[in-house]
Amino acid sequence: MNALPAPPAFLTLRGARGTHLSVGFAAPRGIHSESWLTHIRPAVALQRVGLAFSLCRVAQRTATQLAMHAAAAADAPDQTALAAAVRAEWLREHAVNLLLAWPRMLRQPEEPALVRALIGVAADARAAPRAWTHMLEQDLLGMPPADFVNLDAAGLEAWHRASATPLAARFAAARRATPSLTPQPMLAQLSTWTQADAHALAARMRSDAGFSQRPHWDGVVSESGAGARQFAHPLLAAWRGQSGNDAGMRMLARLLELALAAADELPAVSMRAWKLHAGEAMAAVDTARGPLLHWLRIRAGQVVAYRILAPTEWNFRAGGVLEQALSRCDGPDDAQARAWVLALDPCAECRVERSDA
């Protein structure tokens, strides 16, 4: 076989055997900066975003459209339709993580038919949440989603003991499988960002070309994603009481969001935009992995500056939660490291490399 084609972006965890792993995010850095999205008309930039970001194109294009509208360079998009599409993309990513990537990592049977069915329902807003409710109850949770989201510590323990579905059994086995982290800051919910918060982030994106690779919240390195969004939920608190602030808690947050969607208790997707100055705006769209930010400046009908902050960067930056987690992983194999990577769910290829030094 020939050499494998290089993925367009990948994450590498490097470390000599017996030592801690370090994080190297070998993404093509310039993809977040302006060079391929500038000196063109806004409509062309929107087209390019949709083609290059082919997997989460709905969220990416939505962020572009919202930012352009805020900068008075495009008509108002249909936010209701976009929010439904972003939500479908979000639920799809959770299903793929829990029902394909996780069993694959554990060398257990994948559940492709179930994932395909879930994705199909997620894409059909009219069918949800009734169809979601049925599938989650029968195939994922073994109980009604509305009951699952209200489990207390004893109920969670009973759910583990019953292990009524392959997914539930995986969660039971995941308890205490990775080290517990000391509590770290969680990124504020996008819906709560103030005008001042948004302007501060935009100022950093404008003035610091490297901010997209080293994001922070007012100087604080913070975690993003389902674990951050749902950290305060009683179900996750119950998990932490049993297993700690571990990788499993981040996986459970993903399942919780699927269950909340089925129970019709998942809030509408946050999609926000701020006009900063004349022709300058920033938009944020909440995705499965956290807020996606697009900042742009338009002059005389041309995009003259464009920067993107991908949600993956919050967790996988130097000093981020993955690095903290890896510093606590031990043992001769990389199972814990792989579990953490899966739990934090980068949107890029990930490799674990060990040297023999």
Partner: protein, 95 residues
């Protein structure tokens, strides 16, 4: 990042397939798309086929990724990569 790469099925079944891109082969999970005929184009991320593409869609995405790479090399004339179509609606592949 959210980048996928178009790959073409060489052979396989409903679980996995040997796929080809840019002259190199790798094994890809077919869990999300099911068995596909040889020659079918797929959008692949993290060794999983995420969706089936038409040949035209695959070429558009390939070219767009080449355009990003060209921009990173310092090229400035990127229209030929992205197939910029003036104000025509984008032809991004659908789900």
């Amino acid at each position: 990042m959210c980048l996928g790469i178009p790959m073409q099925v060489v052979h396989g079944d409903e679980w996995s397939a040997l796929c080809l891109a840019d002259g190199s082969q790798r094994r890809v999970s077919m869990a999300l798309v099911g068995a596909q005929d040889a020659g079918t184009w797929l959008l692949v991320q993290q060794d999983t086929a995420r969706e089936v593409l038409s040949a035209a869609q695959a070429r558009e995405i390939e070219q767009a990724l080449a355009g990003v790479a060209a921009a990173l090399r310092g090229e400035t004339d990127l229209a030929r990569y992205f197939g910029d179509l003036g104000s025509a609606p984008p032809r991004a592949p659908g789900h």
